[in-house]
Amino acid sequence: MNDFTKYLAGRVTAGGMNRREFMGRAMAAGLTLTAASQLFATSAEAQTPKKGGHLKLGLEGAAATDSKDPAKALSQFMFVVGRCWGDMLVESEPLTGKPVPALAESWEPSEDAVTWTFKIRSGVKFQNGKTLTVDDVIATLKRHTDEKAESGALGVMKSIKDIKADGGNLVLTLTEGNADLPLLLTDYHLIIQPNGGTDDPNAMIGTGPYKVASFEPGVRATFEKNKDDWRSDRGFVDSVEIIAMNDATARIAALSSGQVHYINRVDPKTVALLKRAPTVEVLSTSGRGHYVFIMHCDKAPFDNNDLRLALKYAMDREGMVKTVLGGYGKVGNDFPINSTYALFPEGIEQRAYDPDKAAFHYKKSGHSGSVLLRTSEVAFPGAVDAAVLYQQSAKKAGINVEVKREPGDGYWTNVWNVQPFSTSYWGGRPTQDQMYSTAYLSTADWNDTRFKRPDFDKLLLEARSELDETKRKDMYRTMAMTVRDEGGLILPMFNDFVNAASKKVKGYVHDIGNDMSNGYVATRVWLDA
């Protein structure tokens, strides 16, 4: 049973999918008819979600300064809190990353992907008893567009030129075509609030499965079940309590002593110890964040593609994942996209550690002497170790890498994006388009590899408004190949999200969208007493 069918089975038990729907999708995923129907029966029987109970989460990232306004949510803590009480227009499917309906029932783009019409779900009630209308949606989106609201989704909203209602539907007009618009609306800041939250942005009233019972910033949040929830496939426990725990050891102690059911941010270095606890299960989910070694394509000696290739082949990726990530990660292939993105271009050959090829390209580049790599502990956890490991593996190819350790203070202003060869990290973006636009477009501020290719830029813009998925995927394949073979990016590893839960917690969905089951952990799991 692969992850996808496991997920489908989970949805069945959660009551979110009937037999016909399940069979169709499971068979599409490659299961035979008998296998699928057996799976349906067993998961519907054995894994029926238990309702009730009090779920306790111990999460890192809360601060006394956390704002109740979803527009200003920053921390991991507020991310989960928001997902409990509110809904977005669109959600992303946990295993494919494709957009699926939430408060928007369906949507339709114009042919050039500039104008989008969203049908707003009817019969949804806010937790204050008001009924959701298209006006609430419009007011919400308009509030996030206003610079004064200081919304974390402002960057996303900037591409929207016009927001208006058409009957009960929402019509969005963009500044340019963007086939990814539904995915952009899954942003966790964009919780639909009554009247857009303009009356009181801090009210914490939404349409989610849990109502806020108490909230003390940086300390604790408690929730009660929303009896009027419009969905029956979520919100199984009666009440939720989220406790702020910024100390890694405190989280582990709380989980192993059974005081909380779930914790986030488990340090890969202590995972092995935590695994020994008989009542605890480590939950590791593939993520989009990645650790990188970046070369400036326009500065000597890195303006020579043979040297760049030599340095790429000299990277021992498997060794990096094992040593730096403790095995909790996946090897990278020198382009910033992995299979957790929708429209991931499969079948690109995995680049492996190859001292011979590295030596070949190094010789061809004509470079002599050492190559200076700058690094710091703040670049990513274990960055200095990673740089030294890289020095070792490069030496076997006859390349002399000199590692210079820079102070953490000022690393991001003086070294990253300034010096020609350094270590750094990237968090993921919701779409491939956003990832490439942020760091690989010629004009991007954060083009930290100085990758300037007009043909790549053109393809990126074309792909953005292309609605045909096959064509779009092909474009993304070409772009990935360009970055992989000609760019300045060495991407040894994608880091996993490592969380842990008590074995009483059932139904956890590994969501590729983001950490902690894309923030939905409290609404998706149930407790098996």
Binding site: A63, A64, V219, A253
Partner: protein, 335 residues
């Protein structure tokens, strides 16, 4: 010409002569107030001089120049420093610390909650540790250089030598994880019953007691021992008083001043220096609040916490001075 000066200084002098103790106390308090104002200048100046800007830290990747300018204008950061300082000071002395930049809530209200939590924890730790330390100190004087004295010394020195977070982790490991008898995390919240609260703070209180115990205990021991070697203690012994009675009745009052001082220092530490313990035990006190604020450069909160910490410190030290003066008449007449 000199007349008015004399008539003015006369009642003052008379007051001093008639109530020497009261005059001394008032002087102390005025001095403390002055010190507090000086500290407020330091805090405000220091915070102003800090590198890093709230608006850019807060907005992170979405920091467009326009958004940054909006935030700065909204917070009044474009106005001159001096007028901002006096507004802040005037507010602070009326108990109004302004609004938090990050959460837009009243700082005073939040500080009130947090300070209450901090004082609750510190108060409980003090109630246990002070009598315990003084009692153990007396006990070890009584058995000095014998087994009980040595045991007390070794244990308390071991406790003070371990970093407080390590003691915390040890207590969590044994009492919360292995035996499962103590409550962890120690999160307290509004609407929590008193007994519940006591249970929650049991482990952090124990940690704090272990951390501050040795200092106070050893100071008590040393102070009493030095008094014990004086002539009048010999007299007490010779006239047939029991050893314990001699310690309690004769040695302790004379040894009070240094003990009060070290107790006050440790009490101040219990309020302002327990950030690490708060973090380890997930206890929502002032220290944690201030650290959160510093990381996002939420200056009104940082300033409020700084000023309150300074006030607690100054107040406790003043109290120690006053008590020492009251306890020991010799200090009233500085040579």
């Amino acid at each position: 010409m000199s007349n008015p000066v004399e008539t003015e200084s006369l009642p003052d002098q008379r007051f001093r002569e008639r109530f020497p103790l009261l005059a001394l106390l008032i002087e102390r308090m005025l001095l403390s107030l002055l010190l507090l104002v000086a500290v407020s200048v330091l805090i405000f100046g220091g915070v102003e001089a800090l590198p890093g800007d709230f608006a850019t830290t807060y907005l992170g990747q979405s920091a467009t120049p326009q958004a940054v300018a909006n935030i700065r204008a909204e917070l009044g950061l474009d106005r001159p420093v001096v007028s901002r300082y006096f507004e802040w000071l005037a507010g602070a002395f009326q108990g109004d610390f302004g609004t938090s930049w990050a959460s837009r809530n009243s700082v005073s209200e939040q500080v009130g909650n947090r300070l209450g939590n901090s004082l609750f924890l510190a108060g409980f730790a003090a109630v246990i540790s002070v009598p315990l330390a003084v009692g153990l100190g007396m006990l070890s004087v009584h058995f000095r250089n014998r087994m009980p004295d040595k045991i007390i010394n070794v244990i308390s020195l071991a406790a003070i030598s371990l970093p407080e977070f390590f003691i915390g982790y040890l207590l969590i490991l044994y009492f919360a994880v292995n035996f499962g008898v103590a409550t962890f995390p120690a999160t307290v919240y509004e609407g929590m019953g008193f007994i519940e609260r006591l249970k929650a703070i049991a482990l952090p209180t124990a940690t704090l007691v272990l951390v501050v115990l040795a200092h106070m205990m050893r100071m008590t021991r040393a102070a009493i021992l030095s008094v014990m070697s004086s002539a009048y203690m010999e007299t007490a012994e010779l006239k047939g008083l029991s050893a314990f009675r001699a310690i309690v009745k004769h040695a302790a009052p004379n040894a009070l001043a240094p003990i009060i001082n070290v107790v006050a220092l440790n009490l101040a530490y219990l309020v302002v220096g327990v950030v690490v313990v708060e973090v380890v035990f997930v206890y929502p006190g002032m220290g944690q609040y201030m650290v959160d604020a510093v990381t996002v450069r939420d200056m009104p909160v940082v300033q409020a916490c700084g000023l309150i910490f300074a006030a607690v410190y100054i107040f406790l030290n003043m109290l120690a001075d006053i008590l020492a003066i009251v306890a020991n008449p010799r200090l009233r007449h500085p040579r």
